[in-house]
């Protein structure tokens, strides 16, 4: 029986003609593979004992699987809860199950390349002759992807049920911090997806490790993540019947609560406006960046704190750890120009006569400034613990911030919001390059 929602998604795709968006990320993973080898597959440089390969494969499979599961936890949230269908369908009667199937199919179609990226990134493992270990690792990552796809939709719909449940209001009050009560359930949902997927893929990667050491039944553990995903998918249907439509009112409540908070904070906000001087493009980018996208710099600064924790060490390898973590935060926040471009419509720029050059500089400057919040605390920690050893990571990180911010701003000038797709592989590549240079210069 034809699914009208899936038919519409197909028609939209036919009109949009989006092209093969997976090619760039996969090619970037291919280019990053040799650079990331010392970081991800350092165990290949040790003795080629089965135990070493098994333990290394286990660790990398778990981490890459968790990374893919995290990405899918967020993608399932974005596509189901805040996705483009909701605002259109909000005024129509919705048959939730066929809609859910259509959304799940679209999410799978748009994100199928994530396990492929992981497979390409760890391809040096196969090239080193450990094909069985590589296949096991890829199977764990594919399982994590399937698991988080199925579990993601059910957990996000379950979160809507929790948000509306009067019996759980007290629990949400305990968890919510400064957030509106109803948001508490949604905030923690991606973490729940990751936790469920993490347990399943932990078992699967341990099974692969055991199988690589000769215990053949270990391969059977690979079935666990897809089975958990299947169970999640089966639960999602009935949950969608009850809670897909109701989520709209929930989101309206949350947005209204935040709008109230924003108005209250308006006078206390810091936009770094004093930096703009007589440059209106920079003033706009600073205001838009903070008012609309502040979760980006705040998330990156949170990662920067992790970098500071890594830097607070007398270990000679701490500088490389700082570059890895603060570098990831830098590349993340440097994507801000593409998000800024999404919020600045082309017709408005044309109507206002905005010049493209200053806009590129302004967006890059904002991203570069935000990156400092991730870089400087980590370097400060390193400076306190190791003194003069910070020069190399300082240069690497600032160069990375500069290159990534300008690359994102230039891409955003051409592709506007869609530039994120082009920036992502370049950012990953730049980060892998910085990590490689940092490790190359690290003391043995």
């Amino acid at each position: 029986m034809p699914n009208p929602y899936a038919q519409v998604h197909r028609r939209i795709r036919a009109h949009q003609r989006p092209g093969p968006t997976w090619i760039l990320p996969v090619v970037a993973a291919g280019l990053a593979a040799p650079l990331a080898r010392p970081v991800l597959l350092g165990f290949l440089d040790g003795p080629a004992a089965p135990e070493t390969i098994a333990a290394g494969t286990d660790a990398v499979a778990f981490r890459l699987g968790a990374l893919v599961a995290s990405a899918m936890a967020l993608h399932t949230y974005t596509d189901l809860v805040r996705g483009p269908d909701r605002e259109v369908l909000d005024v129509h009667p919705v048959q939730a199950r066929p809609l859910l199937r259509a959304i799940a199919a679209r999410t799978a179609r748009q994100r199928w390349y994530l396990p492929l990226m992981a497979a390409v990134l760890v391809s040096p493992l196969a090239l080193a002759g450990h094909v069985q270990a590589w296949l096991g690792l890829v199977a764990v990552v594919v399982g994590a992807w399937l698991c988080s796809l199925g579990v993601g939709f059910s957990v996000h719909l379950g979160a809507v049920w929790v948000a509306f449940s009067p019996g759980l209001a007290r629990v949400l009050d305990l968890l919510r911090g400064d957030n509106p009560r109803m948001q508490a359930a949604l905030i923690y949902a991606p973490g729940v997806v990751l936790a469920v997927a993490g347990v399943a893929l932990g078992v699967a990667s341990a099974g692969v490790s055991a199988a690589l050491q000769g215990w053949a039944p270990g391969w059977a553990f690979l079935a666990l993540p897809p089975l958990v995903g299947l169970a999640g998918a089966l639960v999602a249907g009935p949950l969608a019947d009850g809670f897909y439509v109701r989520a709209s009112a929930l989101l309206a409540e949350i947005d209204a609560a935040w709008a109230g908070v924003d108005e209250g904070e308006e006078e206390r906000r810091v936009y770094l406006e004093w930096l703009a001087g007589d440059r209106p493009e920079l003033l706009r980018a600073l205001r838009q960046g903070w008012r609309r996208l502040r979760s980006w710099p705040m998330g990156a600064w949170g990662l920067g704190l992790l970098g500071a924790m890594a830097g607070w060490s007398a270990d000679p390898g701490a500088a490389s750890q700082v570059v890895l973590v603060a570098g990831a935060a830098t590349v993340l926040v440097a994507a801000v120009p593409t998000r800024l471009a999404e919020g600045d419509p082309a017709w408005l720029d044309q109507a206002l006569g905005v010049r493209a050059g200053p806009v590129v500089h302004a967006r890059a400057a904002v991203a570069f400034l935000y990156a400092q919040g991730a870089i400087l605390p980590a370097l400060l920690a390193l400076l306190i613990r190791q003194g003069g050893a910070i020069l190399r990571p300082l240069l690497l990180l600032e160069l990375l911030a500069l290159v990534a911010a300008f690359a994102a701003a230039l891409i955003a000038r051409r592709l506007r919001g869609r530039g994120a797709w082009a920036y992502a592989p370049l950012g990953v590549l730049a980060w892998a390059g910085a990590a490689f240079l940092s490790l190359a210069g690290a003391p043995p």
Partner: protein, 243 residues
């Protein structure tokens, strides 16, 4: 012996003591009114009076802080999906699939409102909705190429195409060219004659004077007047000089 008077027709929409608070701000305060089958009622009021907030609570897009809304007997807050089966809605800022043509969007709207969503809807219905909205020549262009007025026309056609028993139209005539607005208003009046209920929010009181049965005036979140359309001049005066 005379027979007892016929019972009043059942209510299409029943709004009871509706209240919406945003923190300390009360956007809608104890709003109550009823709509019966065949009625076309205008909802008027100055900007920020609470009309759109009321509309959103009527359609289940917003939860009331207190009070209730029933559409064809269905409690909207408890069962928004069930209530929406009876509703055709045009919000203040309509959202559409930008990469569909108007014909495809309206066909989809008709399809998901039908008893069998997998069955293709009657093309004659789609053509009729396109004609009423005045989209005939542009029906096969992609919506992202449309003006704001054409967006609204498409949203109107989506709401009208499946002939729902209740139509909630929030500023739905804004931005429409006069002939299209005229055609839409005539179509709404015709739907009411066939038993549908229409709640139309607008700033154009003359339109209401022509087709509405009643006018509900909202000021500062409250119902300031609920009068027959014949007393539109009183509403006009109240809008000019709020109490």
């Amino acid at each position: 012996m005379s027979s007892p008077p016929p019972p009043p027709p059942p209510l299409s929409v029943e709004v009871t003591d509706l209240r919406k608070e945003y923190g300390k701000v009360v956007a809608v305060d104890r709003v109550s009114f009823q709509l019966r089958p065949g009625e076309l009622v205008g909802l008027v009021g100055p900007n920020g009076a609470g009309k759109s907030t009321t509309f959103k609570m009527l359609s289940g897009q917003l939860l009331p802080t207190a009070g209730s809304v029933r559409v064809m007997g269905v409690d909207v807050a408890r069962d928004p999906a069930g209530a929406r089966r009876h509703l055709g809605i045009v919000p203040e800022h309509p959202k559409l699939y930008e990469y569909l043509s108007a014909r495809e969007m309206i066909t989809f709207a008709a399809q998901i409102r039908g008893t069998d969503p997998s069955a293709p809807p009657d093309p004659a219905r789609i053509d009729e909705a396109l004609r009423i909205a005045g989209l005939g020549e542009d029906a096969d262009r992609l919506i992202h190429e449309y003006s704001q007025g054409m967006h609204r026309k498409t949203a109107l056609a989506c709401a009208l195409v499946a002939e729902p028993p209740v139509l909630l139209l929030d500023e739905a005539l804004n931005g429409l060219d006069p002939p299209s607005a005229e055609r839409v208003v005539d179509a709404l009046a015709e739907r009411c004659r066939r038993g549908a209920t229409v709640l139309l929010s607008t700033h154009v009181l003359d339109t209401l004077g022509r087709v509405a049965d009643r006018v509900v005036l909202i000021q500062k979140g409250r119902v300031a007047a609920d009068l027959p359309a014949s007393e539109l001049e009183q509403v006009r005066a109240m809008l000019k000089d709020p109490p």
